[in-house]
């Protein structure tokens, strides 16, 4: 069998090296990047389409690596992983498409720029396919380093501190993860996710930790949680995010919010819940409070921002807050209560769908922001705009679709996933669900405000000649928006594959 997943991970890495060699020839570097991104997109789409319906791992690759250390090269994807691959491929392609060769970003060391983006993509692929801690962590870190440099070298004014803050926060999270998994290895002798999950399902993991290291499994759970919570982020570990998203070059922000933030949610689903479901159940209440806080406060913070990038940065926190809410809500003993199981399934379906939707929508919104930015000369203050729908109707129309998707308008993709989440969370944790509805309302208000302030109202003199989208740009965005629409109308396209995975995951979880 072809090592499809390895090839998928290797393509961007090799293309990155090639782009680096292109040096200052921006067009060539971007061309290489585009080719790589398109081919990975096709390949990951093929992976997605050829997934079985069992919900178990497919495309498994295993090879001995360092047996004495429990290190094995072990890859595989299920519905969750494959969806994330698809999302990463889409977002990367959008980011590369948004980095136009004549822009300021790509004109400084373009070879390096595209190489780093491709390396980041390689890191994403590796993270979403790895089933052994060793190389999972390798790719987890690998995605961090290029992100840092992309912000550091191509970011806006004030990028230095932002990049450092981003790096420090995520690094602290990584170290917590590393320590926790080292402890797990000492207790179990394995770094393999499936082995560890199996032990957790057997109920033998906690005793193993207890006997080797003492009663620290709760601490390990919190360590793992911290690693992922920073990445998503969960309040109060979010403070790096607004500065980072707003200072990063916009294509990078697309990657950060569209794909990298999903690494955190993915980690919670793949690792935190299966391994430490029992421990998380113990601290479910505080976690739910934090998740609710993330939803509501994220939305509220978005409401008071003046800068469009910051508004959507906080809005991202809010949107992923729903995922966290659902994940923490389902962390409770099920027994054989079918109603609870049904709610869990709905919530989890919603989470996975929300990951994909938010990735798509947020990346699209930031893509539009990058257009706005390049046309306005870098200023994204909300007060700077008004009445744009007159000079640029297509721009406003298309961006409107993305905004409404983000708002959760029925008929667009955002609605389905948020609905599923609330449908699942409500029976399991009605109070947080109720409070979180507040977040939905505020977000709606924020997005409507944006639409109103930017698209309508009086048109300032300077924007009289605001250029509309070119046909090329429309061509880039049309498929994405179309996808939003299709998913809004036929969510079954994704859910059909995700649902077996969810059932499979839930079947293995024991609290």
């Amino acid at each position: 069998m072809m090592p499809v997943l390895t090839i998928l991970t290797a393509i961007p890495a090799v293309a990155g090296a090639a782009a680096l060699l292109a040096g200052n020839r921006a067009a060539i570097a971007r061309g290489i990047a585009l080719v790589a991104a398109i081919s990975t997109l096709l390949l990951s789409a093929w992976v997605w389409c050829s997934l079985g319906s069992s919900g178990a791992m497919s495309f498994v690759e295993r090879a001995d690596w360092v047996p004495g250390l429990g290190i094995e090269y072990h890859l595989g994807v299920d519905g969750l992983g494959a969806l994330m691959l698809l999302l990463s491929a889409i977002v990367t392609l959008m980011a590369i498409a948004a980095s136009r060769p004549n822009s300021k970003i790509a004109s400084q060391q373009p070879g390096l720029y595209f190489a780093l983006i491709l390396l980041l993509q390689s890191g994403l692929f590796g993270t979403f396919t790895a089933l052994n801690f060793f190389h999972w962590f390798l790719f987890w870190e690998l995605s961090l380093i290029p992100a840092f440099f992309l912000i550091k070298l191509w970011g806006a004014e004030g990028r230095g501190p932002a990049a450092t803050q981003f790096f420090v926060y995520t690094m602290v999270g990584s170290v917590a993860l590393l320590l926790a998994f080292l402890a797990l290895f000492i207790a179990t002798g394995s770094f393999d996710f499936q082995v560890l999950a199996q032990m957790a399902a057997d109920g033998s993991l906690t005793p193993a930790i207890q006997s080797h290291l003492g009663p620290i499994s709760l601490w390990l759970a919190l360590g793992v949680l911290l690693g992922f919570a920073v990445k998503v982020p969960l309040m109060p570990f979010h403070t790096w995010l607004p500065a980072t998203y707003s200072k990063a070059p916009t294509p990078v922000t697309m990657l950060l919010t569209g794909a990298m933030s999903k690494m955190g949610v993915y980690g919670l689903l793949r690792l935190a819940l299966p391994l430490f479901g029992h421990e998380l159940a113990q601290v479910r209440t505080p976690l739910l409070i934090l998740a609710t806080l993330t939803v509501v406060a994220g939305a509220w913070a978005a409401a008071v921002q003046k800068d469009l990038k910051r508004i959507f940065a906080y809005s991202s926190i809010n949107h992923l807050g729903y995922c966290l809410l659902a994940i923490f809500a389902i962390a409770l003993p099920t027994g054989s209560d079918t109603a609870v199981q049904l709610s869990q399934t709905a919530a989890l379906d919603g989470v996975i769908l929300q990951m994909f939707n938010h990735g798509l929508t947020a990346a699209a919104i930031f893509w539009f922001l990058s257009m706005l930015e390049s046309r306005s000369g870098g200023n994204l203050a909300i007060d700077n705009f008004g009445g744009l729908r007159k000079p640029a109707p297509i721009f406003c129309g298309l961006m409107g679709i993305a905004l409404f998707s983000s708002l959760g308008l029925p008929g667009l993709n955002g609605f389905v996933s948020e609905f599923l989440i609330f449908r699942g969370v409500w029976p399991l944790a009605w109070l947080p669900a109720t409070v979180s509805v507040l977040g939905l309302l505020i977000t709606a208000a924020v997005i409507l405000t944006v639409i109103q302030r930017v698209f309508s109202g009086p048109l300032p003199e300077k924007w009289k000649t605001f250029p509309d989208l070119t046909s090329g740009e429309i061509l880039v965005m049309a498929p994405v928006l179309l996808l939003m629409l299709i998913l809004g109308l036929v969510p079954q396209l994704v859910l059909g594959t995700v649902n077996p995975t969810v059932m499979h995951l839930l079947a293995g979880w024991r609290y």
């Binding site: 004495g68 250390l69 060391q109 060793f134 870190e141 550091k152 170290v175 000492i186």
Partner: protein
């Protein structure tokens, strides 16, 4: 085959000592060829011995009356370290390629001392007779003094003298212990394996172990005897720093394992009483090692001289090696040996970047000054090289340091859970100082404007030479290769550690 590494290096050193002045420029070519041949032999020996235990290389009566034999053998640990030495030698010469450009460089002397040092290091790693080991150990120390004092920079005479005296104080301690053991065991043999069988009384081991261990650990940069290391590293010319951090410090750690712990394993036993939880020499030295890890990293965090950052980082990383050894667990010692290799390669790479590629072009190592030079743009090769080397050095997965550090930490977690936690903090600080140095030196936010506010153009520096590039690719490639496929080394290290005397592998639970 491995033994030729020794003879070749010494023959090369001798030939260079009598090198005709007229041919001074060719000295480096000759030295490179010798080093390459040495690396070739090391590699061939390494590959040929795959899957085997200890390979005997030579056994001749040397001073029969004293029971001293010329006995060479190589087990997996030795072979790994010999390979490291070969790499460091080649890389060191590549980064010394500038020596010989000017007539006053005394190139032949430099390379003669260099090869003599290398020969001594090879010898230590291959000796089974303790006397022979000691002879090579001292041979490796002397040339260091001259390399630093003659071709060094900042306070070179001070740094060189301090290093030499520390080393000799350490080796005097070692010699006392060896002499005492030799006399106590009846003076018939200095063979390590034979002596290790001799049941030295516990009371004897209780003083001999700390003495010999400390003697060697001085050279390994163990806190609080580490102070020679940063000054020595800073004073040394690049190639000497590379060798110093790359292989000479490993001699100390190797001696700790091969001599102190093997001969006197019961010196590690508990005293029978404890003070503040410290109940054995093992705990004492583990504590020193942990302090070294954190202290070295913390000091590196506040240095302004770029080379001092790397110098203190060596102290920190060698602390990990010592901690790994003292865990007395299979995995911890595996990790320690791998860390020796890894640090040898990475320290070489870092010193080469900082001391050679950057300093030689900017003529400053002050981070404050470097931060104004926009080196990220002016010298992208050096900048990205440092990023890679720094990431490897901070223990990012994918590079050799990670696998080594993880094993040491696991071993430490089993043996001293608290120390493992503190060492983890040290590693985090390690990330911080590397990051800080990288940011300040290469990617500083300091706006590049002069006093009047006009933008300073990006300075133009000499291009990176082929020799520098070759050295960089050799070292960085090795680190990456080992990081991605640590079995290349572990397959030889693990059985060798398993074959160590049983008393050494009693740690953990």
């Amino acid at each position: 085959m491995l033994a030729y590494t020794i003879y070749l290096s010494f023959a090369g050193a001798l030939a260079l000592a009598f090198w005709p002045k007229a041919l001074a420029k060719s000295a480096r070519v000759f030295a490179l060829l010798v080093a390459l041949a040495g690396l070739g032999f090391a590699l061939a020996g390494f590959i040929a011995a795959a899957g085997q235990g200890s390979v005997a290389l030579a056994d001749l009566a040397w001073v029969p009356a004293l029971g001293i034999h010329y006995t060479l053998a190589a087990d997996g640990i030795s072979r790994v370290l010999v390979l490291l030495t070969g790499l460091a030698a080649v890389a060191g010469i590549l980064f010394s390629w500038y020596i010989g450009d000017k007539p006053g460089d005394r190139a032949n002397e430099f390379f003669a001392f260099f090869l003599a040092l290398i020969g001594g290091v090879y010898g230590v790693f291959l000796s089974v007779d303790l006397f022979l080991l000691f002879v090579f150990y001292e041979i490796a120390i002397v040339p260091k003094y001259f390399l630093i004092a003659i071709w060094g920079s900042t306070r070179r005479e001070y740094g060189a003298m301090k290093l030499a005296l520390y080393s000799f104080a350490g080796s005097a301690m070692v010699l006392i212990g060896l002499l005492a053991a030799y006399a106590a065991a009846g003076s018939h043999t200095m063979n390590l394996q034979t002596l290790a069988q001799y049941p030295f009384p516990i009371s004897f081991q209780m003083w001999a172990f700390p003495l010999v261990f400390t003697g060697f650990a001085i050279l390994a940069g163990m806190w609080p005897f580490h102070t020679w290391a940063p000054t020595g590293h800073v004073a040394a010319p690049t190639a000497a720093s590379m060798l110093l951090a790359g292989v000479v410090m490993k001699l100390g750690a190797y001696g700790c394992l091969r001599v102190a712990m093997t001969l006197f394993p019961h010196g590690l036993d508990p005293w029978g009483w404890s003070f503040l939880g410290i109940d054995s020499w093992r705990m004492v030295f583990a504590l020193f090692a942990v302090i070294g890890i954190v202290y070295g990293a913390a000091v590196a965090l506040v240095q302004n001289d770029f080379k001092f950052v790397i110098g203190y980082s060596s102290v920190s990383h060698m602390g990990l090696v010592l901690l790994g050894l003292l865990t007395l667990t299979q995995i911890g010692i595996d990790g320690a040996v791998l860390q020796m290799f890894s640090h040898g390669v990475l320290a070489g790479l870092l010193f080469a970047t900082v001391g050679r590629i950057v300093y030689e072009r900017t003529h400053t190592r002050d981070l404050g000054l470097l931060s104004k030079l926009q080196l990220g743009k002016a010298m992208p090769f050096a900048a990205w090289l440092f990023v890679i080397a720094g990431m490897a050095s901070m223990g990012l997965p994918g590079f050799s340091g990670f696998v080594a550090e993880v094993q040491v930490l696991i071993g430490a977690w089993r043996a001293f859970p608290w120390f493992a936690g503190v060492a983890g903090v040290g590693i985090v600080v390690g990330i911080a100082y590397t990051w800080r140095a990288m940011q300040r030196a290469f990617f500083s936010d300091t706006p590049a404007v002069d006093a009047s506010g006009a933008a300073i153009p990006i300075p133009v520096y000499e291009p990176v030479t082929w020799a520098e590039k070759a050295g960089v690719f050799l070292l960085a490639g090795t680190s990456l290769l080992i990081g991605l496929y640590p079995r290349l080394l572990l397959d030889q290290i693990v059985p060798a550690v398993q074959a160590l005397p049983h008393a050494i592998l009693t740690g953990g639970h």
